[in-house]
């Protein structure tokens, strides 16, 4: 089985495309449409990498980083998807322990490269 990616994004359209490309790239993907579900998923399972949108219902990407690093005490790499013009969010994400970020509109190819780099570090 390929490396496991947790994809947290409430945008169905983007998620479908990323899901497709990640699977083509040999990853196994779990997609969560909201932050609450992500948290519950992480209670039972820790993927090899987390890719999360910053704006999500119930629990933002920022809260998610805090949860993974400080409550679950996990060092699993986290890549944040942010909207353009949200530099402050990206800075906060890095402070809390995000490993990398990518700005919307997301290029799937670029995201795959970034994921591979984080996983192989």
């Amino acid at each position: 089985m390929g490396k496991r990616v947790l994809l947290a994004d409430d945008d169905q359209l983007l998620a479908s495309l990323l899901n497709f490309r990640l699977k083509k790239g040999g990853y196994s993907v779990h997609h969560s449409p909201n932050g609450k579900e992500v948290k519950e998923y992480l209670k039972n399972e820790m993927p090899d990498i987390i890719v999360s949108d910053i704006m999500m219902p119930y629990c933002s990407g920022i809260e998610l980083i805090d949860y993974v690093r400080n409550e679950l005490k996990s060092k699993t790499p986290i890549i944040i998807i942010s909207s353009a013009g949200n530099e402050q969010n990206v800075l906060t994400a890095f402070e809390l322990g995000a490993n990398d970020f990518i700005t919307k509109p997301v290029s799937p190819t670029e995201l795959l490269v970034r994921i591979a780099r984080e996983i192989n570090k």
Binding site: M1, G2, R4, D10, D11, Q12, L13, L14, S16, L17, F20, R21, K23, K24, S28, V29, H30, E37, E40, Y41, K43, N44, E45, M55, S83, K104, P105, V106, S107, P108, T109
Partner: protein
Amino acid sequence: MAISKSKDLLGQLSQLERTVGEFSFEELNAHEAKELKESFNSFRSSLEKHIYAPKTQQIVPVKLKTDASNKNEVSEKQFIANVSHEIRTPLNSIIGFANLLKEEKLTKAQHKKVQAIQFASNTLLKLINEVLEYSKISSGNTNFESVDFNLHGLLKDVMFLCETLIVDRNVELLIDIDENVPKIVKGDPSKLSQVLLNLLGNAVKFVERGFIKLEVFTKQKNNNEFLIEFSVADTGIGIPPEKIETIFNGYTQAEDDTAKKYGGTGLGLTITKEIIEKLNGEIEIDSTVDKGTTVRFRLPYTMGKPTATPVRKIQKSTFKKDVKLLEGTEILVFEDNKMNQHLIVEQLTQWGCTVHADIDLDKGLYLLSSRKIDLILMDLKMPGQNGFEVSKAIRSHKNSRVSNVPIIAFSADFTEQDSRDCKEIGINDFLLKPYTLDDLLSTILKCKEHKVEQIDFSSILQKPMIEPKETTVVDLNHLMKDCFGEIDMLNELVKLFKLNAIEFIGNVKIHLKTQNLKEIALSAHKLKAGFAMIKANGMRNLIVELESSCKKDDFEKVKELYDVFLNDYPMLEDNLDKDLKLMNKK
């Protein structure tokens, strides 16, 4: 009692968790998969029984209740809420494991079995979410508003949303608001739309042909207080008499296989009833099997102050005067793109016209000979029977009342051949897409007043071909590359994109009425990525501007941009379809 039942429930859950844990999925055969599915179903119904059985027996007059028993009930509901929440955790791991399992190399048969697990557990998850919402409402955790709002506007918006749901079905959607219903009332608009959408959504689910009708009238009036009755009638499958009494009690659907056929968890009506009762209203249901169902509910409102409604943008005075001239015009629209059809009907109806759309040649001819039709709008490039053929048939009809009705054609391009054909067939005027509302209005008026016999079609050709409007441009090449050239994936994404856009249109429409700019900003934000994907940069910029206008609280600007969106989006969708068709051919 609540504690023991809930314990029972938790016991069942851990049993389920153990069972799933012990499963060796490779050894599952069809029979076992079926059993698994059934056990999920029986688990679901037992869950429902445990949660609702005590409630149905508690029909005690409210006044007789002591404070203690009230408290008891509240804590029981709180407890249910907590338990439901707990249930979701193991359930999510069932779903998660099933998802993971699907990723592994499975035989076709095994894949099917995993799908059965996914189906059952997703259904269960949906039920639990509804249970949570239900207990939230009944334990008083929901806030009710009391604001002035435009009741007529809300009703129309709700119907608009429903229309997008039944666009491809043979169901007619009717609305009848009695004139004694006040325009502006004071109450909770979002709860009313939730109730209406629940009921209409139910009707949409259960009606295969016929109609769905929303009727509204004032049942009682006392000075400033109104009791308004709403009824939602449908020609659906109906409910047998013995089930009607229990239909509002928790998880019930008329037949045990209703869920299988129509989906849903049956909590919608319970939630609806709770909301209505919390608003001091009442609800009743009337149904005949195979004939249909009518749900009536009555809610009290007080007269609202009209100043609280959004200020309408003042349009150019000539435009306004012109619109007046259109009132009562009866128009046939031949346009097969449902989205375009929907929008043009909306616009014309708003201008006071009677519109017949969604028609084919036969129905059109029938209407032309039986009614006094003033005008025909004709899309020239319909994929089936095209506009030229339909126009030709109309012009050559033996009844002169039919054959003489003015025809305005429209299409996104116009060639020399088109020009000759229009002239020969006897089409009166032409609109090049994308046209503005002004264009549409003045062309219709010109034709209606018979000011033109036939325009000089070559003049359209001589006009330098207008650069395609920036907001309607799309390019799928990029996305196709991202899909590695897999056409199925591209089709899927475009389908999703269109659904998102329709959802956006409905959402913004509703939130504009209540001036909820926060929600509109969120909707716009969600749509941005989609437009970026299909390289619709012009439209994406518009959405970005719309989002930032929401944040600046510039209501007028938001409304203006939304109108541009409504005007241009159908063209963009046309271009998208064209592009996709090309890709599919390649």
